[in-house]
C-alpha cells in the first residue's frame, strides 16, 4: 500500500479523512502521524494574554450587565415616520412652487361658452386645416 501523502495527513488532521489500516501497519506513516499530532498540539496552544487586559474586559462586562438597556426596538417606527414626513414636506413644497394659472373668471367663462356653442367637435378642427387654402 502507498504511503500517506501530505494531503492525506492534512485531511486526517482536520477530520476529513479516516485512518486506514496502512497508518497502523506502516511505521514511517505512524511516526509521521505522531509527529504531526505533537506539532498541532504545540502550535495551537493558547497564547498568553495580559491579565490587566482581561481584568479590564471583565470590569466592562460587569458595568454593562447592570446598565439600563437602550431599547432601540421601541424606536423602530421612527425611521419610517421620518421618511413619510420628508416625502409629505417635499410634495407640499413642490406644489406650492407650481405657478398658478393666471386667468380671469371672464376669460374662463368665454372659453367654455365658445366650446359649448361650437357645432363641430373640437377633434375634427385639424382636418379642416388640411383643406383650407
Amino acid at each position: 500500500m502507498k504511503h500517506w501523502t501530505e494531503n492525506d495527513f492534512k485531511q486526517w488532521l482536520y477530520d476529513l479523512r479516516d485512518e486506514d489500516p496502512h497508518l497502523e501497519e506502516c511505521g514511517e506513516c505512524r511516526s509521521e502521524k505522531d509527529r504531526l499530532q505533537m506539532v498541532r498540539a504545540r502550535m495551537t496552544g493558547q497564547p498568553e494574554i495580559s491579565q490587566d487586559f482581561l481584568a479590564a474586559q471583565r470590569r466592562n462586562i460587569y458595568r454593562r450587565l447592570y446598565e439600563p438597556r437602550r431599547n432601540w426596538f421601541t424606536l423602530r417606527w421612527a425611521l419610517p415616520v421620518a421618511m413619510v414626513l420628508v416625502m409629505v414636506f417635499g410634495l407640499t413644497l413642490q406644489r406650492s412652487r407650481r405657478p398658478a394659472a393666471n386667468i380671469s373668471d371672464e376669460q374662463l367663462f368665454s372659453d367654455l361658452t365658445a366650446i359649448e356653442q361650437s357645432a363641430e367637435p373640437k377633434a375634427i378642427a385639424p382636418m379642416h386645416k388640411l383643406f383650407e387654402e
Binding site: E6, Y14, M43, T44, Q46, E48, I49, R58, N60
Partner: protein, 193 residues
C-alpha cells in the same frame, strides 16, 4: 467552570447569581476572546464582541423559562461565533474602517510560552502562527469559522455543524476549501522541515 456548567446542565430553577456567572466567565474569557480575535482579526473588535457574548449569555440565562443546556461551553461558543459573524457581515459595508495597528495587538498578546526550549524555533513557530492567523482573512466567513473551530478549538465536525447550524457535509466542504486556501501556511506549519 465546573459548578456553573453543572448548574447549566441541570434545570435552572433559580436565577444564576453574579458570583456563579463571574467564575464561569473568568474560566471561559480567554478562550472566547481568542476565538473572537481569530475570527475578527482585530483586538478592539474582539474585545467588544467578547463583551457582547457574555452579555448575551447573561441575559439568556436570566430569561424566564431558560432551558437546560447540554454543553455550556459549546452554547457560549455558538453565541460568540454568531456575534463575530454578524460583525463580519456588517463590516463588509464599512470600507472606510482603519486596519488594526499590529503594535497595539502586540502589547496585549504576548508570544506563547512554548515548551520548546529552542528560542529560534519558538520565534519561527510564532511567526508561522501569525502568518496562519492573518491568512484566515482570505477565507469566507463560514470557512473561517469552520477552520478556527477545528484548528484552534479542536471541535469535532458534528460540534462545528451544531455551532454554525449547518449539516456535517457542508462543514466538510468549508473545511476542505479552507485547507486548500491555506495550503502554503499549513505546509510550513506541519511539514517545513
Amino acid at each position: 467552570m465546573g459548578v456553573m456548567a453543572d448548574r447549566l446542565g441541570a434545570s435552572l430553577d433559580t436565577p444564576v447569581s453574579t458570583r456563579e456567572f463571574s467564575c464561569w466567565m473568568a474560566s471561559e474569557q480567554k478562550r472566547i476572546f481568542l476565538l473572537c480575535r481569530r475570527l475578527l482579526q482585530d483586538v478592539d473588535e474582539a474585545d467588544s464582541a467578547s463583551q457582547d457574548t457574555f452579555l448575551k449569555a447573561w441575559q439568556a440565562l436570566n430569561r424566564p423559562g431558560f432551558n437546560e443546556l447540554e454543553d455550556a461551553g459549546r452554547w457560549l461558543t455558538r453565541i460568540a461565533v454568531n456575534t463575530c459573524l454578524d460583525r463580519l457581515r456588517s463590516r463588509r459595508w464599512q470600507f472606510w474602517r482603519k486596519r488594526p495597528n499590529p503594535d497595539d495587538e502586540k502589547t496585549i498578546l504576548d508570544l506563547a510560552a512554548a515548551s520548546d526550549p529552542n528560542a529560534e524555533d519558538r520565534v519561527l513557530a510564532a511567526e508561522i502562527s501569525r502568518r496562519l492567523e492573518s491568512a484566515l482573512s482570505r477565507l469566507s466567513l463560514r470557512q473561517r469559522a469552520s477552520f478556527t473551530l477545528r484548528h484552534y478549538e479542536d471541535r469535532s465536525l458534528a460540534e462545528i455543524a451544531e455551532i454554525l447550524d449547518l449539516d456535517i457535509g457542508t462543514v466538510k466542504v468549508h473545511l476542505f476549501r479552507a485547507i486548500a486556501k491555506l495550503r502554503e501556511e499549513l505546509h510550513d506549519l506541519y511539514f517545513r522541515n
